[in-house]
């Protein structure tokens, strides 16, 4: 199939396109359609997050405090900077600045590794203290931060010991969802009542809170690992793509008339960045 590239003087113009513009425009439309697909792919998780959080707001608010906002913020900056270098690389390619192109691609890759490194630190810590997804969830003593997070300790769960229907209303006023109330009612009837209506508001880490209710907190880590994990996989794919670009840039493949792959990969990278911009506040910064 030696005729696959039928344009002798333009080594990267595929045989079935008329000219470079035709090829570039097709690629551009293709990557945009792909990004739409990606958004819909993630939309399922965002939708699940919204539904899950509206069902269990108190779980999300409390469990989110176990995430390290400092590392999350640093990672946001790292990704934003990598988006800058990726966009810059596109400009370098358009202007035929080979050395700067190589540098910006390398910087983008370095930032992506930085992001994954920080995620590794965060994940390792979570696994260390047992804040794992789903059935693996087994928090050790002190998995949730004690000091400096006064707000977190204020999030309470209602312990209810009577059949008093008012308990539901009170629990709602206190910001707790319906489910913990009912569960507590069913699961811990023998606890001494010390509230006016036969219920009491206690912090999540109060020893009187039954394990079944405490384990509700694992809901958050299931969705946290799914969302950040899938995002992380996209970052890893981006690293592979940018290494491929780097190799081609070093070999001098990209010219002012042929820079499509750099442009398209940068668009993909911006989307990965954008998704993180939504993940960070939704997971780390909720009150």
């Amino acid at each position: 199939m030696s005729h696959d590239h039928g344009h002798g003087d333009k080594p990267f113009l595929a045989h079935h396109f008329e000219d470079e513009d035709h090829q570039f425009d097709s690629g551009k439309l293709g990557i945009w359609v792909f990004l739409v697909t990606e958004i819909l792919f993630f939309s399922g998780l965002f939708c699940a997050y919204a539904i899950y959080r509206s069902m269990h707001p108190e779980v999300f608010v409390f469990a989110s405090k176990a995430l390290d906002t400092k590392w999350g913020a640093i990672n946001t900056c790292v990704l934003l900077f990598s988006s800058l270098t990726a966009a810059w690389a596109v400009r370098n390619a358009q202007l035929g600045q080979k050395n700067r192109l190589v540098m910006n691609l390398a910087l983008t890759i370095a930032c992506a590794f930085g992001f994954m490194g920080i995620k590794y630190v965060e994940y390792t810590h979570k696994f260390h203290v047992g804040l794992k997804p789903g059935d693996l969830y087994a928090p050790v003593e002190g998995a949730y931060p004690e000091k400096g997070h006064g707000h977190a300790r204020a999030v309470t769960v209602a312990l209810d010991h009577s059949a008093d229907p008012e308990a539901h209303d009170v629990a709602h006023e206190a910001g707790a969802g319906e489910h913990p109330v009912q569960e507590a009612h069913a699961a811990a009837p023998e606890h001494a009542a010390d509230g006016e209506h036969g219920h009491t508001m206690v912090p999540w880490d109060d020893p009187r809170v039954p394990t079944e209710i405490k384990n509700r907190l694992k809901i958050f880590f299931g969705i946290y690992f799914c969302m950040t994990g899938l995002h992380g996989i996209h970052v890893l794919l981006g690293i592979v793509v940018f290494f491929w670009l780097l190799g081609r840039a070093i070999r001098g493949h990209f010219t002012p008339t042929y820079y499509g792959p750099v442009d398209f990969s940068a668009l993909y990278w911006h989307l990965v960045d954008l998704i993180w911009i939504y993940l960070f506040p939704l997971l780390y910064l909720i009150h």
Binding site: L40, L136, L230
Partner: protein, 566 residues
């Protein structure tokens, strides 16, 4: 006829275009690797065709297995668990491995660039990648069969699939996930190809209707399939790690899975039927020898079906505990889909009316399609009315309805398209008499298999039951006999087509008198299809071609000036 072995371009201006080439896409290079590493859309189409035929055989055998079990009440030779596995494998394999990739990936790949006068799709490597994703998905399904089977039904409903079933759910969902991406990349490729690779003169309103249908399909593939992907990933996480999103015991909601699943799977129903309608539009015009009636209405109805398909998923969940208000809204939007569907049927009938109809095999399939699709479509209205759906939900009425649409519609249109483009694809004509007989056999078998299911469903026979009361015996026996007749018809079809490869007479470039571009290149086409893209004009101007006795096919009328069509 003498072999003509000169470049296509050298004879373009002459009266009789090249009919055959000694070197075509099938024999331009040899060896298995030249197929497995090919970037040629036609070879990829042929490989898909082989693949989906294998999947169809597997799904068909599973159907035959449980239909034989249902021949008598009581259990004959299966356990209840095995019965569950048989109908699940039938559904999952037919949906994910056969119907969804069937027309777009196999026939679409073969024909779409040819209809555009293009050398290939926009992204040939991605196209080959889609095929390999399909293969990987198929291997996952084989792994499922070997590694414990699957008994969840093709819909993978939670909580059964996530916590209760002891079969290989993870392998199957992983397979469906990978197949989803195969479908997405095919759709992406087709969208870009139709946007960017149209030849000079082919405006959107001169686009053949097959391409309008493929375009509408591709939009659904690209927008709906990723949601299935993430849903299946969440199901895998749920089953493997117990993250709880679909599990009430962990604070989740199993109905959420149904919402997610049908948000994809209802549009997916139109991934199955839109390409079928697209084929039928071509067949009806060509074999009525008449300009298609209502071109724009057919084109836009495809697009409106694609858009409406995203707004009706809740009609699968009338009895799943969604609110009455959402039920009413979903029901109302579901009715509106009947409008573009009916527009198509009326336009096809208007095209046939006073056309000079010839009943060659592809046209037979097109007429059978109209008959079957109309029954399937009208019975769909019974199910979109909430009050009747509550009664008919999960009965054989539903089974009969969607088989009339998905098999009677999609399979028959697929076979019609296969017979229509077979001479282009293989370069040989099949035995016309035998293939007509096979088509009619399959049609009779199909109706015998599924019409009784409407009756027993309305009498209350639930779907997915391994056993039944003796009252239903007659209907089940008719249905099983029909299945056997349908199977015999399909074996005849396979025999006729395979025989034509070895002993069929050489096909001319344009055996049917079609006016779209794929008939302008030789049969089978050369590796690059067209040396230069032919100039596009009205794809349904049937006056452009005339029968040529000497060639044994249709040839362009020399110096023909197209009349202006509205």
């Amino acid at each position: 006829m003498a072999q003509i072995d000169i470049p296509l371009s050298g004879r373009r201006a002459q009266d009789v275009p090249v009919q055959h080439l000694d070197t075509n896409y099938l024999n331009v290079s040899k060896g298995l690797l030249s197929w497995f590493l090919t970037l040629d859309h036609k070879r990829i189409g042929v490989m898909y065709l082989l693949g989906i035929t294998g999947a169809f055989a597997l799904g068909g055998l599973a159907a035959l297995g449980f239909r034989l079990e249902l021949f008598r009440p009581g259990m004959q030779y299966m356990t209840h668990e095995q019965y569950n596995q048989f109908f699940t494998v039938h559904g999952a394999v037919m949906v994910f491995l056969f119907i969804i990739p069937g027309i777009p990936a196999a026939l679409g790949n073969m024909v779409l660039p040819l209809m555009l006068g293009a050398k290939d799709v926009a992204f040939p490597r991605l196209n080959l990648g889609s095929f390999y994703l399909w293969m990987i998905g198929a291997f996952f399904f084989l792994w499922t069969l070997i590694g414990g089977g699957l008994d969840t039904g093709w819909t993978f409903y939670t909580p059964y699939s996530s916590t209760l079933s002891s079969t290989a759910v993870i392998q199957a969902t992983a397979g469906a996930f990978v197949l989803g991406f195969s479908s997405i990349f095919t759709g992406l490729n087709f969208i870009v190809t139709i946007h960017k690779m149209r030849p000079p003169g082919m405006t959107w309103h001169k686009l053949p209707l097959f391409l309008w249908g493929m375009y509408a399909t591709a939009v659904i593939q690209v927008l709906a399939t990723p949601v299935l992907g993430i849903t299946l990933l969440m199901l895998i996480m749920e089953r493997a790690l117990g993250i709880g999103i679909f599990d009430p015991a962990n604070g989740g909601d199993p109905v959420l899975f149904q919402h997610f699943f049908w948000f994809y799977s209802h549009p997916a129903v139109y991934i199955m039927i839109l390409p079928a309608m697209a084929i039928v539009s071509e067949l009806i015009a060509t074999f009525s020898r008449k300009h298609i009636f209502g071109y724009k209405m057919i084109a836009y109805s495809s697009v409106s079906i694609a858009l409406l398909s995203f707004l009706v998923w809740g009609h699968h969940m009338f009895v799943s505990g969604q609110s009455a208000l959402s039920g009413v809204i979903f029901s109302a939007i579901t009715f509106t889909i009947a409008i573009p569907s009916a527009i198509k049927v009326f336009n096809w009938l208007a095209t046939i009316y006073r056309g000079s109809v010839s009943l060659e095999t592809p046209m037979l399939y097109a007429l059978e399609f109209i008959w079957l699709f109309t029954i399937g479509g009208l019975t769909g209205l019974f199910l979109s009315v909430m009050s009747t759906d509550v009664v008919l939900h999960d009965t054989y009425f539903v089974v009969a309805h969607f088989h009339y649409v998905m098999v009677g519609g999609t399979l028959f249109a697929f076979l019609g398209g296969l017979h229509y483009w077979w001479p282009k694809m293989i370069g040989r004509m099949y035995d016309e008499g035998l293939s007509r007989l096979a088509s009619i056999t399959a049609f009779i078998g199909f109706n015998l298999a599924f019409f009784p299911q409407f009756i027993m469903g309305s009498k209350g026979m639930p779907r997915r039951y391994a056993d039944y009361k003796p009252d239903f015996t007659l209907y089940h026996q008719l249905s099983t006999i029909g299945t056997l007749v349908l199977g015999a018809g399909i074996l005849m079809i396979v025999y006729t087509l395979v025989k034509s490869i070895f002993s069929g007479k050489k096909a001319p470039a344009n055996p049917w008198g079609g006016a779209t571009m794929e008939w302008e290149c030789p049969s089978p086409p050369p590796h690059f299809n067209f040396e230069h893209p032919p100039h596009a004009s009205d794809p349904y101007d049937m006056e452009r071609v005339k029968w040529d006795e000497q060639v044994g096919g249709w040839v362009p009328v020399p110096g023909y000036q197209s009349r202006v069509h509205h």
